[in-house]
């Protein structure tokens, strides 16, 4: 794998072009999670009452936060990267410079992570405004580290899909059949305790589940050693996804 510091140059290219889209993307990043928090948190929260001794919103925020990071990074590396690759031919001009195909792809993943962090941060601000806080400052730092890892993981997974996509419609399979259902099996909206055993096992292997567990601990202050394994699981999955994603993209870019 021919990676170098030039990943940063690619990231900066995205930042320069982003200037023009800041406002619309900020709004987009806010609206969807806000929608979840308000409809589920406040609307449904009124029915479900207390959840582990706290309002439902406290249960909801950590999960929605992580899914916002993962989804934003995914969209960026699906649609964003596809447009740059096929429509704008940006990758073609990048690989004619000392920037390698790997640098270019990793730069786009890094960009997806950054966009994910923006979504996560905005989400957190909204949650705080609604009265939901992480337990401490170190907890916030832990949360950010976790968000970065989740961003890389979902960005890399999206790259695998993008590297295989013949056209835009192909992404629907991934977003509708994989990403959206995953939200429901990862403990974002409700606990998994009442699922049958096989479902619980299945959900353990979904990439979002461990991230939601860590996030929830950060907001509740209830830590356990299982979180270390959750974290390791994310890291291992991420290394695999990143390696495959970059390799497949390189295969597509270089003919």
């Amino acid at each position: 794998m021919n990676l170098s510091y030039r990943v940063y140059h690619v990231f900066v290219r995205n930042l320069v072009s982003y200037k023009r889209f800041v406002v619309p993307t900020f709004i987009a990043s806010l609206v969807q999670p806000l929608f979840y928090l308000i409809t589920f948190g406040i609307g449904m929260g009124a029915y479900v009452g207390l959840f582990g001794g706290k309002p439902y919103l406290f249960f909801l925020v950590p999960g929605v936060l992580m899914s916002a990071v993962g989804l934003t990074a995914s969209y960026e590396c699906l649609f964003g990267t596809f447009v740059k690759m096929i429509h704008e031919k940006l990758y073609d001009s990048l690989i004619a410079t000392p920037v390698s195909a790997e640098d270019a792809v990793a730069g786009d993943i890094a960009w997806g992570v950054f966009r994910g962090l923006i979504s996560g941060t905005l989400m957190m601000a909204v949650a705080m405004a609604m009265g939901v806080f992480p337990v401490s400052v170190p907890a916030v730092l832990l949360l950010f580290v976790c968000m970065i890892f989740v961003g890389v993981l979902f960005g890399s997974l999206a790259m695998i899909v993008t590297s295989l996509a013949p056209n835009f419609d192909f992404f629907n399979y991934y977003t509708e059949l994989v990403l959206t259902p995953m939200l429901f099996f990862s403990g974002v909206f409700f606990p998994l305790d009442n699922f049958p055993a096989w479902m619980k096992t299945f959900s353990k292997f979904l990439p979002l589940t461990p991230a939601v567990s860590i996030s929830r601990a950060v907001f509740s202050g209830v830590y356990s050693t299982a979180l270390i394994f959750d974290f390791l699981f994310i890291v291992v999955l991420e290394v695999i996804a990143f390696t495959i994603g970059v390799k497949l993209m390189k295969r597509r870019l270089i003919k």
Binding site: N2, R6, H9, V12, R13, V16, S17, R20, E88, K89, L90, D92, S93, L94, I95, A96, T97, P98, V99, S100, A101, I254, K255
Partner: protein
């Protein structure tokens, strides 16, 4: 002069399809070397291997003594590429395109700013400095592609059909700029389908067809060897051929019938001119031989798909 690029039995296959079929050539430092050929001849495939964005399937290819491979950043650092397709960054302005590109070559900010201003002047885009790419005409985009290719002060420039789709003004401006670069000692590789372009710019050319090199030489020698000095085109029905060929037999001209036209290729057109006046045929054109005649003779006059 020493050779800067050497290709031996260079081959490119996409799956089972052979796009470049074992070609060999050498390009000298400081010359302008042209690849001519109809659509699909393998020109782009060849030069993409030279600037290391496409892997060599078989054979050897070296640039400045270094073997070409996808990960050869050293070659890419000193090469400027004007691609066939317009691959500008549409999200950015003219100036930003150049500034962002300068990063990829690790050019320090200060230095980059001066170079960008110089290059914008060089390609006469001062008025469009802060315009978005979609506000540029095709000619302007092509000029910006040239500026972008020069940001790293390359010693080797690769231009893939740099003037396709441009009006004469824009085309001449680009020729001027390319000649200017050559006079500064840059080695230039050009692909084109415009024979005039090749004649204007190239010291040596190869004619490619179906992945192979058919002929190599200077534009002048190719015309002399393949065609001669003059061409006579007579638009006349086919049943007259025998009579005409007979009456022009004494002038040692080659002839060819293509569609509605009978072509004569002549070493010396002086005498035949008199004869033509004598015959007083309608629809006759008598003109100097050009590279286009060579091209058509070598690659066939029918449409190639």
């Amino acid at each position: 002069m020493s050779s800067i690029i050497t290709a031996k039995n260079l081959t490119k296959r996409y799956g089972k399809f052979t796009a470049v079929d074992g070609i060999s050539f050498e390009i000298q430092e400081g010359e302008c070397f042209g690849f001519l050929g109809p659509n699909g001849a393998g020109k782009t495939s060849t030069i993409r291997m030279i600037h290391c964005v496409s892997p060599v399937t078989a054979g050897t290819l070296t640039v400045k003594g270094l073997p070409c491979s996808i990960d050869n950043r050293t070659i890419k650092k000193t090469t400027g590429v004007i691609p066939q397709e317009i691959t500008l960054d549409v999200d950015l302005t003219v100036r930003e395109n150049l500034m962002v590109f300068s990063r990829f070559f690790d050019i320090p900010r200060r230095e980059a700013k001066t170079r960008v201003e110089e290059l914008i002047k060089f390609v006469e885009l001062e008025a469009k400095r802060d315009s978005k790419i979609d506000q540029l005409s095709t000619g302007m985009k092509r000029r910006l592609l040239i500026a972008r290719a020069l940001i790293n002060q390359p010693t080797l420039i690769i231009a893939d059909e740099p003037t396709t789709g441009l009006d004469p003004q824009a085309r001449h401006l680009i020729w001027q700029r390319l000649r200017q670069l050559k006079s500064q000692g840059v080695t230039l590789i050009l692909t084109t389908q415009y024979m005039e372009e090749a004649q204007q710019l190239c010291d040596r050319i190869v004619v490619m067809y179906q992945g192979k090199i058919l002929k190599e030489g200077t534009p002048r020698t190719l015309i002399d060897e393949e065609i001669g000095k003059d061409v006579v085109e007579i638009r006349i029905s086919q049943d007259q051929d025998e009579k005409l060929i007979g009456s022009l037999a004494g002038f040692s001209c080659g002839h060819e019938r293509v569609g509605d036209t009978l072509f004569f290729y002549c070493r010396d057109g002086h005498d035949i001119r008199k004869k033509l006046v004598e015959l007083d045929l309608p629809n006759t054109v008598h003109r100097p031989a050009t590279l286009e005649d060579v091209f058509l003779k070598l690659t066939g006059r029918s449409l190639i798909e």
